[in-house]
């Protein structure tokens, strides 16, 4: 059943999933002059924001239909988390590979991603997903979808800060964001179980 739901949501959002990183990459081209890492975080924050906004919006718009299906809430929760998680991972890999390739071409020597870049990419993904999980059910949570524009803008400011962090601080930030996403996912799970579907 999980695979079926996964395929269904994938089919519904295929255009968003495929084209968002490409469009974001196009917009991030000028940022490459400031460094591949910065561009990678920018593409990533746009892609994950759009992923969360479109997926959670789709789930919300079909909630009455899916709530009537003989499928447990736990199954839906697992599908939600694994769907967002899987595509977040693909986007992290995409941004790392693309920026490494472009950097390699620009500098005419092999540029490999650093451990810090991987950690910070995961941190950015965790932070954005947590924001969506925590805010989507507040009174005006529906407007979180507008964050498609605002979250990446806000993150460009944050990125310029975290990019200067040392590896040790990056590890600390990684564990903090891990704790945050676990809390956000747990709250979402219990809240979704108790909520009224109207």
């Amino acid at each position: 059943m999980k695979q079926m739901l996964f395929r269904y949501y994938e089919q519904e959002l295929s255009a968003w999933i495929l084209f968002t990183p490409l469009v974001a990459s196009f917009f991030a081209l000028p940022l490459l002059f400031e460094g591949g890492e910065f561009a990678a975080y920018f593409i990533l924050s746009i892609s994950i924001t759009v992923l969360c906004a479109t997926y959670l919006d789709l789930r919300e718009s079909q909630l009455v239909m899916t709530s009537l299906f003989p499928i447990s809430k736990k199954t839906f929760f697992i599908v939600d988390i694994s769907f967002i998680g899987r595509y977040a991972l693909y986007y992290i890999l995409y941004t790392i590979v693309v920026t490494s390739v472009i950097q390699t071409l620009l500098e005419q020597q092999l540029v490999l991603p650093s451990a810090k870049q991987i950690l910070l990419s995961i941190v950015i993904s965790f932070l954005i997903i947590s924001i969506f999980l925590l805010l989507r059910r507040i009174k005006y949570g529906y407007y979180v979808n507008l964050s498609m524009f605002f979250i990446p803008l806000a993150f460009t400011q944050l990125i310029s800060l975290i990019i200067r962090l040392s590896t040790f601080h990056s590890i600390l930030l990684f564990f903090s964001s891990l704790v945050l996403i676990i809390i956000a996912a747990s709250i979402t799970y219990f809240r979704e179980n108790r909520r009224d579907v109207t």
Binding site: M1, M4, Y8, Q62, L68, P70, I71, V197, T198
Partner: protein
């Protein structure tokens, strides 16, 4: 066996309370669920489906708790709301595939038969369909996984008489199996007079009565006359009263009225009106 057993269920909203309601729907029967707009009909159906969370009380479907056995029970329930809650950009064919993957008992040939019988096009997008066609599709979707219980929330609202008749025909076919049951909420009491076995009346979040339809229609009577003539009607038999131009109109319990006094058979509409507006205080 009871298909639905609602016991002392309450649900609180900001401006409305479903207050300690209880009723049952036996297998093999169609239960009409009536009440004004905002009386709590849709809320009750949503609470039964656990879409809205009750704050107290018990709900059993086929003898099983509706939350503890939610997944198993939902496979046995077909639901129709007054709106069709499916993706608008889907075609009927795509819904067939989706529902076929979700319901283990989905009967594709039967679904296609229903569509053909009701003249619903397979390759039309939902957003291009008329309200009547959407309702016919909703019923086909609700029936095609061979449920034992149908929960219908205003399924005939806004439909023309021909489509309404087709819908009622489908429901009567569904009831050919003895263990099937329907809870049918509607404003349109003529539909319920045609097909319902019991009538449950909800008003301002409380159940005013839940009785066999024939007991209601033959157990009550309407007496009309002048105030002078009204003295022959015993006070304890009067359930409701309405004043009209030439006198007074009473809804009375037949068993307490002298059989020689002529009484009119009430309609369900009359019962609703007397219970809501003319109840004796």
């Amino acid at each position: 066996m009871n298909a639905i057993e609602v016991k002392n269920v309450s649900k609180q909203f900001k401006n409305f309370r479903l207050n300690n309601i209880s009723f049952t729907v036996e297998s093999g029967t169609i239960a009409g669920f009536i009440g004004q707009n905002g009386a709590g009909k849709s809320t009750t159906i949503k609470v039964i489906l656990n879409l809205l969370k009750k704050i107290e009380g018990d709900i059993l479907l086929f003898g099983k708790d509706h939350i503890a056995h939610e997944v198993e029970l939902k496979a046995q329930i077909g639901v129709v709301f007054d709106e069709l809650h499916v993706p608008e950009n889907f075609t009927t064919k795509e819904l067939d595939v989706l529902y076929g993957n979700v319901y283990p008992t989905w009967d594709r040939p039967y679904f296609n038969d229903l569509l053909e019988q009701l003249d619903v096009q397979k390759y039309d997008k939902i957003k291009t369909m008329s309200k009547g066609t959407k309702m016919k599709l909703a019923l086909s979707l609700a029936l095609a996984h061979r449920p034992k219980l149908l929960l219908l929330d205003e399924p005939t609202a806004g439909l023309d008489p021909i489509v309404r008749d087709e819908v009622l025909g489908m429901l009567q076919n569904f009831m050919e199996q003895e263990d099937h049951a329907i809870l049918f909420s509607s404003h349109n009491t003529t539909d319920l007079e045609k097909i319902a076995d019991t009538i449950t009346f909800i008003h301002e979040g409380e159940i005013l009565f839940s009785e066999n339809k024939d007991d209601l229609l033959y157990g009550y009577g309407i007496w009309k006359g002048s105030l002078e003539e009204a003295k022959v009607i015993p006070n304890h038999s009067i359930v409701g009263k309405r004043d009209y131009l030439f006198g007074v109109e009473y809804l009375v319990m037949r068993e307490f009225v002298n059989p020689v006094i002529e009484l009119q058979k009430p309609t369900i509409d009359d019962l609703m009106l007397f219970f809501v507006k003319g109840r004796q205080r």
